[in-house]
Symmetry: C2
DNA sequence: CAGTATCCCATATGATACTG
DNA sequence: CAGTATCATATGGGATACTG
């Protein structure tokens, strides 16, 4: 069996391997709009297409569709279409998606907290 | 002060705004190689350029340089160059970078654990 | 060793128009 | 409303060669 260093195991190294499945999922999850969609749905409420479009400000229809399909194929997002006219479609996180979101929210919170300082630094550094 | 709904506050909404600083930082941090570099350094040891290249398997010199500069400008990664010949340069996380990494490791762990199942689903779904 | 400089391309992303 | 279809573009990203 492969033994890992005690205090800094973290990753079985596969993560860093270019053909590791994690890479694919990582790319999906950290894709520009994937992150935003998951985070938007992490609030708990199901959201409609048009709500998601507004929520993830700047997303194009094409990218939203693409992102949603990807996340749905990954089993992270559930699409619920009610057969009415006009169409009413709701998106929500699956159980698996919710698990993932649990890990993404702290990250996003931290980023939101520190982003101003981080970008401020750059300006400061550039100016002096 | 702004009052948020009790159980699902999460984001001051700014995160979803297209001109929010968080967007920029989010893009840096979740960039294809940014994530991998931060995770590699999260193990604790300072790494040299060549070690990082091997660690983030598949990264080109161009992208490694670009990613490193970006993370350095963000104050997440520290570059320590020892004035010897041949050059010896080490990269490590700053305190701020370590804080961020703390939030990224659980996410990556989860992804590493579930990636096979996630991608397996897609196959299963496609085949049946 | 640790990069920088170039050239080049795939594709991620965007804008617009159209439809069940 | 909730998409799909198309066309156009920017740029993320890669390969290669070169340098202090």
């Amino acid at each position: 069996m492969t033994v890992s260093p005690p205090l800094r195991r973290h990753f079985p190294d596969g993560v860093f391997s270019s053909d590791c499945p994690s890479r694919v999922v990582l790319d999906h999850v950290t894709s520009k709009w994937g992150t935003l969609v998951i985070l938007a749905l992490a609030e708990g409420d199901a959201l409609r297409w048009s709500e998601l479009r507004r929520r993830a400000e700047g997303v194009s229809e094409k990218m939203l569709a693409q992102t949603l399909k990807m996340l749905e194929a990954d089993g992270l997002v559930h699409r619920h279409a009610r057969p009415v006219v006009p169409p009413h479609v709701e998106y929500s996180l699956t159980a698996r998606g919710a698990e993932l979101a649990e890990r993404m929210v702290p990250l996003m919170d931290w980023i939101a907290d520190h982003a101003p300082a981080i970008l401020g630094d750059a300006q400061t550094a550039a100016t002096r």
